[in-house]
């Protein structure tokens, strides 16, 4: 999915996410945020990337067994891939609608599951690509131009 016009790859990192671990949820997004700060990305871009990554990370924790994150920085953009093994999304179109949610009570008690996650990711990134297979998992790719 690498964009040919993205320019030279400056940095690539991989992280893993443990499904169901709400205590440590957000750790990957926190690491990505720190890297972006360290390499001097503009604060507005960092903010958008942090929000989008955190929402995506919470989705993996809430709905998947485990997930892998690949984070790339090129000269033109940030690319973050979230690939999980989990329940998948039955209807991506519905999942993109604000307010639509399949969250359990446990997720709602945490303060999530309002059906705002995917719409909020979309609002914060320049490109969002979601592929999902029910019972297998979901791959989410986001790109933000720097």
């Amino acid at each position: 999915m690498q964009d040919r016009e993205a320019g030279e790859l400056l940095l690539e990192k991989r992280f893993s996410i443990e499904g169901g671990n709400f205590i440590h949820a957000g750790g990957v997004s926190s690491s990505i945020k720190k890297i972006l700060k360290d390499i001097g990305i503009r604060s507005e871009i960092i903010r958008r990337a942090s929000i989008a990554c955190y929402e995506a990370e919470m989705n993996v924790v809430a709905y998947a067994k485990k997930g892998e994150v690949t984070f790339r920085v090129t000269q033109q953009h940030l690319q973050v891939l979230f690939k999980d093994e989990g329940q998948g999304i039955e209807n991506i179109g519905l999942a993109m609608q604000e307010g639509y949610s399949t969250a359990t009570d446990a997720i709602r008690e945490m303060g999530f599951g309002a059906g705002m996650g995917l719409p909020n990711i979309k609002r914060n990134v320049d490109h969002l690509n979601i592929e999902s297979m029910v019972g297998v998992g979901t791959t989410l790719e986001m790109i933000i131009y720097t």
């Binding site: 957000g26 309002a114 705002m116 719409p119 609002r123």
Partner: protein, 122 residues
């Protein structure tokens, strides 16, 4: 008004405040739904919430909020306190309910970080 003034006004107990308690509070956002906080709260805002799990600190970290005021006297759990300390996010608890906390702050010049949301939900 500073975070310290907020604590004084609401009889709040300051649990974590490494260095930020003199920071100026101009705007706030109040919600128990972190999804809504992530969608609407702006950088540099005080978060007023009843959520006490570690995700409230993560949310504040991602959005670069200036602090968290927990309402209804709820005690944050140990993991939350630890994370707030690590991330240097000011955290305080008041016994006032959310409505009362918001009212007192607004009366003292703190306004919403947004007045309303751009689009009504479907």
């Amino acid at each position: 008004m500073t975070l310290k003034d907020v604590a004084k006004l609401l009889n709040a107990e300051i649990l974590i405040c490494e260095d930020g308690c003199d920071v100026e509070v101009k705007t706030a956002f109040a919600a128990d739904l972190l999804s809504d906080v992530l969608a609407y709260a702006k950088e540099g805002t005080l978060l007023i919430t009843g959520i006490t799990n570690p995700q409230v600190i993560r949310t504040a970290e991602m959005l670069e909020l200036i602090g968290i005021l927990v309402v209804r006297g709820k005690a944050p759990d140990a993991e939350t306190l630890k994370l707030a300390q690590t991330k240097s996010i000011p955290l305080m608890v008041t016994k006032y309910i959310m409505f009362e906390s918001c009212g007192r702050l607004h009366r003292n010049g703190v306004v919403g970080c947004v007045e309303s949301v751009p689009n009504a939900r479907s």
